[in-house]
Symmetry: C2
């Protein structure tokens, strides 16, 4: 078992690539029992894990890490139980590999199948939460992928012991059914290693970075490996002229204030001019009472008391209790503002007019387009996707909240009985192309 | 109408991006009638097109372009008819936009739909064939994408007139149903423009390069825009110990020699040692009779007369009438060789042993894995996908032969009636997550 031990990141990625190929002959039952074994090992070895976490907590406290970050770093009984519940549901879940996605007879005795399979090697770069490491590792295990994990340096000791526990518990040595091939889970520990990972196109198939916008944007820019993720989350709520105030006010409050530090929180409110006089005072009272700072355009300032929104406000993801407000004269203008300043994440219209709603939902080019509900619903668990791998603002492969499907690819299998293309080109045979 | 006229490629890409958003409110009928109008315009203006093509042909002939390239450059009545047939089938095809891919009740009055839609702006860089321009442009039209086309410089005049004819015919000015927004089709003409395109991440969503392996590999390496395509196509045929000679010989001949210059032709033959004495002489006679040069490993040279295969032979896509041959002792060794030297394109096993066949098909990590048929079947038309956008060796988004599906993405639409996330977090409401 070689998790760390001297190898550089390229060698470890090569090990992961080799493991990813061996996984192709591991059975679904074996993956289920490996998950079971991982869950039990996490429980059995929890004291060891908590002790490592204490080292990280003590060091980070001494270094003055901010309290919200310390809270994320902490790995305790409650977080352990929560991730174990997640693993339990993965144990019971249908194996996503080997599903026949489509099947077609090309000719008599020549059958084409498109079959689901893993992507291969996933490079996951995430923030300080150690529970994220467990979620990601077990999702990769279930979906047949090998994984290279890079967690926050604050969580170094916790990440090391977690990786070791998972690798040992899933390994073939302990499991009658065979278990996972060695090397399927790898830990990267330094930023230098992350930089090296970005150019390993032949060894890493997909990068999933989580973290600050700047960090994710840099990875998207610097790597030619496909990236699943999102940088900015500049989401808008548009209050149409036919918005119902009884819906509009609570939705704006929820979209902005329910949790300000997340990517699906609203940053800008667009209000139709015909409804501004009615709606803005209500919005003002509700949001200021909740402690939100408002910044408005010229026209907004004539209706309610707000600070001045500067041009950069429309392009800012505050991740804080601040909302910028702009009055628009048409739905077209709202859509144009969203396309100019949004990040293609989540956009909502509030209206009782079905036509306006459908026009907005058809025309806004974003991963999630919502009608009469909070932007905060943009989430894999809420969408019913099970565990969330991430939220993607790319339009390739997966868009919006991404569940385990985002870790899957497919292969084409063609089963013949001696056919050659020449016969079809020469007109001796013709394709039947019959769906099965 | 601004197809070329003075704008640099960034400005034109921005125009394409704006058009791609306007397309979201264009109807399926409008796209069908635009396709119809394009087809008629190509026929009506064929003299103009052939005249432009003559300029390209004359210049290229004078410059000494190789005859096979001249053949590809030539755009005549036959090629026109063929592309028009293709457009006709796109006119009649079901519109791929707006299909509900899944639908789920999250709670009463809160309905989630995943709906197909275009990717946005496609950057297509292709070789000299002018008919490819028409195919790609009309596929993008059908799938609601804007497109930036860069064809071979030999075809400059032909590409200009084709782009103009297509843009004018699809334009709203001529069609009662509205037609395409201006700017949806753009032509890039220089290599400098291609270099600039590679960094326009915010304006181009997907690059589809066709051309030499070196060219495609460079684009994959140099751009952080997702790329659909393939560089090398090093495909193998593996003759198992239980291969039927009656199938093996014609399949090897077809895989190698039916058309040597294509990516799905075989480059290396792997033969199980237990069958080598029987099969290799038959392979030798059949392939040398067809004009194929054979290069073999040490053990192969003891059985048949062949040149020596050097280590680099196993990593070479000949695209020529040359086949390298290696003897292996097990299926495992064949799979390992394929993983080490293959390009994840198309791999075939020839055997009468069902277990060996299924082991090979399960374990080989390639876009296409075939049993008892020629590698030359790896093709979008053969697979019944309709028009082929390209063949992808990436595992992200689309793998293997890619039809119009490869030009599609999706959006999540959520239709509510005033819901806020707070109620669910506070336990006042719970999600129903009912599939619809």
């Amino acid at each position: 078992m070689s998790i760390m031990g001297g190898m550089n990141i390229t060698q470890r990625a090569r090990e992961a690539r080799e493991a990813s190929r061996k996984i192709l002959s591991v059975s679904a039952e074996s993956r289920s029992s490996a998950l079971n074994s991982v869950r039990l090992a996490l429980i059995n070895r929890s004291e060891e894990i908590f002790a490592a976490n204490k080292i990280d907590m003590d060091r980070s406290t001494a270094e003055g890490l901010a309290p919200p970050m310390l809270k994320r770093l902490k790995f305790d009984e409650i977080k352990l139980n929560r991730v174990c519940e997640g693993i339990r549901s993965l144990e019971l879940a249908e194996d996503p590999m080997g599903r026949v996605l489509e099947q077609r007879e090309l000719d008599k005795g020549l059958i084409l199948s498109r079959v689901s399979g893993p992507i291969g090697v996933i490079g996951m770069i995430f923030e300080s939460r150690p529970d994220a490491l467990i979620q990601i590792a077990t999702l990769c295990l279930r979906s047949g992928n090998a994984v290279i994990l890079k967690g926050g340096s604050e969580a170094l000791e916790t990440n090391r012991i977690l990786t070791r526990v998972i690798a040992e518990a899933a390994s073939g040595e302990k499991l009658p059914s065979g278990g996972q091939p060695d090397g399927w889970i790898q830990l990267a520990e330094t930023r230098e290693e992350v930089r090296e990972m970005l150019i390993l196109n032949h060894l890493i198939d997909l990068l999933i970075p989580r973290g600050s916008n700047e960090f994710v944007a840099r990875i998207m820019r610097d790597s030619s490996i496909p990236v699943l993720g999102h940088a900015d989350g500049i989401c808008h709520v548009y209050l149409d002229k036919d918005a119902d105030p009884e819906k509009a006010v609570p939705i704006v409050l929820d979209s902005k204030m329910q949790y300000v530090a997340v990517c699906n929180a609203a940053e800008t409110l667009l209000v139709h001019s015909a409804a501004a006089e009615t709606l803005l005072p209500l919005i003002h009272d509700s949001l200021t009472a909740a402690g939100c700072e408002l910044r408005g355009c010229d026209r907004t300032q004539k209706i309610i008391e707000v600070k001045t929104a500067l041009p950069e406000d429309w392009d800012t993801e505050y991740l804080d209790a601040i909302l910028s407000i702009k009055i628009v004269d048409t739905l077209d203008e709202a859509v144009a503002h969203i396309h100019r300043h949004g990040s293609g994440h989540t956009e909502a219209i509030i209206t009782e007019n079905g036509e306006s709603a459908e026009a907005f939902m058809a025309r806004v080019d974003a991963a999630d387009v919502f009608h009469n509900c909070s932007t905060r619903f943009a989430d894999g668990f809420v969408f019913g996707l099970g565990a969330e791998v991430g939220i993607s603002t790319s339009k390739i492969h997966a868009r919006g909240p991404v569940g385990v499907e985002g870790l899957l690819s497919y292969r084409w299998q063609l089963r013949g009985s001696g056919q050659v293309i020449r016969d079809y080109n020469d007109g001796l045979k013709t394709f039947t192309h019959k769906e099965l």
